[in-house]
């Protein structure tokens, strides 16, 4: 059963944490108990929710921009050889520039506010989306499209029933990558130039040398992201790719 295997894997990680926390002093590596206590206190005071909300807000808007721009780029590059030649270098440049550079540039251009963070996230995450969608469009099976045409299926039906289902795995992969990237760049921007959000709190507690709180905040957002993965992305993927699971005997 994959579910029990997943539980074991998390348990092993947890056990390693507990074991290491006995080896090192609490200033270097606090154990799970003080860290979860800190999370609980942060949330109970309401402050935790505020900063968590700010980061989620920026991540989701930035992710939205990345998905829209990245999909447009990727689909154009997949469909037209000219667009591919023209846009490929942009995507590669976008991919090569370190995320922190986008953070600095957007903060200088837009000031220390939400839009800077959102745009930095969008710009950083879009190449990953573009590359996945580009591959997805290129991998579309033309033979089944010819089949659909031979059966005189209307164009809209061909796109909805024959083309889009083929791109689902690529859209999911793009969302996963982009979500991971978005959260990393969000904390970076918040750390450099924001006065709210998880990154800001990380910076604050870093200044006070509180390893417990640094871990508490990191864990708070990690739990949130795992929640998104297992409550939304994973069930959707299971449903959309049931045919593949059924084949693996």
């Amino acid at each position: 059963m994959p579910t029990t295997l997943r539980t074991y894997s998390i348990l092993v990680l947890f056990a390693a944490w507990v074991a290491l926390s006995f080896v090192f002093s609490p200033q270097v590596l606090p154990g799970p108990v003080p860290v979860f206590e800190a999370i609980w206190e942060n949330m109970a005071s309401g402050e935790g929710f505020y900063h968590l909300y700010k980061t989620i807000f920026r991540v989701l808007l930035g992710l939205f921009i990345a998905m829209v721009v990245g999909s447009v780029f990727g689909v154009l590059m997949g469909l037209s050889l000219k667009a591919e030649k023209f846009l490929e270098s942009w995507v590669m440049v976008g991919l090569t520039i370190p995320a922190v550079v986008y953070a600095i540039i957007t903060l200088l251009w837009f000031g220390l506010n939400d839009s800077a963070a959102i745009i930095a996230i969008g710009v950083t995450a879009f190449p990953a989306v573009a590359i996945n969608m580009w591959q997805g469009v290129k991998d579309i099976d033309m033979q089944v499209i010819t089949m659909a045409k031979a059966f005189q299926m209307p164009r809209a039906d061909i796109i909805r029933k024959v083309v889009l289902p083929q791109t689902v795995p690529y859209v999911l992969a793009a969302t996963r990558y982009a979500l991971g990237i978005s959260w990393k760049i969000a904390t970076t921007v918040e750390l450099i130039g924001m006065s709210s959000g998880v990154g800001y709190m990380l910076n604050y507690w870093f200044g006070l040398f509180s390893m417990t709180q640094v871990l508490a905040w990191t864990l708070t957002f990690t739990i949130f992201l795992l929640g998104v993965e297992f409550l939304f992305i994973n069930p959707f993927e299971k449903r959309a790719t049931a045919w593949r699971a059924a084949v693996q005997v």
Binding site: V144, M147, A150, F151, Q152, P165, A240, T241
Partner: protein, 257 residues
């Protein structure tokens, strides 16, 4: 009235360097309703292009095609044609039943009627019990049966088949050929079957059209006067196959010279 009249059909493609590639160089033939015709020709001779034109996927460069007296044009032409490809071309994320239902979904049937129709043809090709399987869970032969059911489910006026058994192993292909003959006799469809396998063409069809290497022209016409069901070891079939092989081989020899 003839079911299908193809007269002087030509097709060329203009390549990127502006040169013309002649694929079909004036092809004519006629078919009666309910007839089984095989078009036999070497690989890459433009047979598949001919079927694409008949299916309305591609336009002819010149010539005329009449189906039941009406001229056939590219795109939606109101003529229902069932197409079976060399590969099954099923949608892997749909169950077998939903694959057969696919071409019915833009028709006039209600959802329930579509399901009933799909079920009926699924049973006709002997896939009962596999309704909810996904294509990749089935063998190549079973997938091809589903593809045949899909083509029959739209109750086509003409069934077009493009080397449908060439990617199957010989034993499965033999079973499928016998099955096809059974389906053809049960449904009475007009069938155009394209192949490069001489014995397959002889075994299946009433009429044979041997076409040349690209650009495709009619090289020879033969009738196979053997009643159905036919036996694989029937000497008359072998005789016909030999007769057909001769011009076929001569054609290849001329080509080599």
């Amino acid at each position: 009235m003839k079911k299908i009249v193809v007269s002087n059909l030509t097709k060329h493609f203009v390549l990127t360097d502006k040169s013309r590639l002649e694929v079909i160089g004036g092809l004519s033939f006629e078919m009666e309703e309910g007839e089984f015709l095989s078009i036999l020709g070497p690989s890459g001779c433009g047979k598949s292009t001919l079927l694409s034109i008949l299916a309305g996927i591609e336009a002819a460069s010149d010539g005329e095609i009449l189906v039941s007296g009406k001229p056939l044009t590219a795109g939606d032409n109101g003529v229902r044609l069932g197409f079976v490809f060399q590969q099954p071309r099923l949608l892997n994320w749909r169950t077998i039943r939903d694959n057969i239902k696919l071409p019915l979904e833009h028709g006039t049937q209600s959802e329930e009627e579509q399901l009933n129709t799909a079920q009926r043809y699924l049973e006709l090709v002997r896939l009962k019990g596999f309704e909810n399987y996904f294509p990749l869970q089935l063998s190549g032969g079973m997938q091809q049966r589903a593809a045949i059911a899909r083509a029959l489910a739209i109750e086509p006026e003409v069934l077009l088949m493009d080397e449908p058994f060439s990617s199957l192993d010989e034993l499965t292909a033999r079973k499928m050929r016998a099955e096809l003959i059974r389906l053809w006799r049960e449904t009475g469809k007009t069938v155009i079957f394209v192949t490069h396998d001489i014995f397959e063409a002889v075994y299946l069809s009433q009429k044979l059209l041997v076409v040349t290497e690209r650009p495709a022209r009619v090289y020879d016409r033969t009738d196979v006067n053997v009643g159905y069901p036919r036996d694989y070891d029937d000497d008359r079939l072998f005789e016909t196959a030999k007769k057909v092989s001769r011009p076929f081989l001569k054609m290849e020899a001329n080509d080599a010279a």
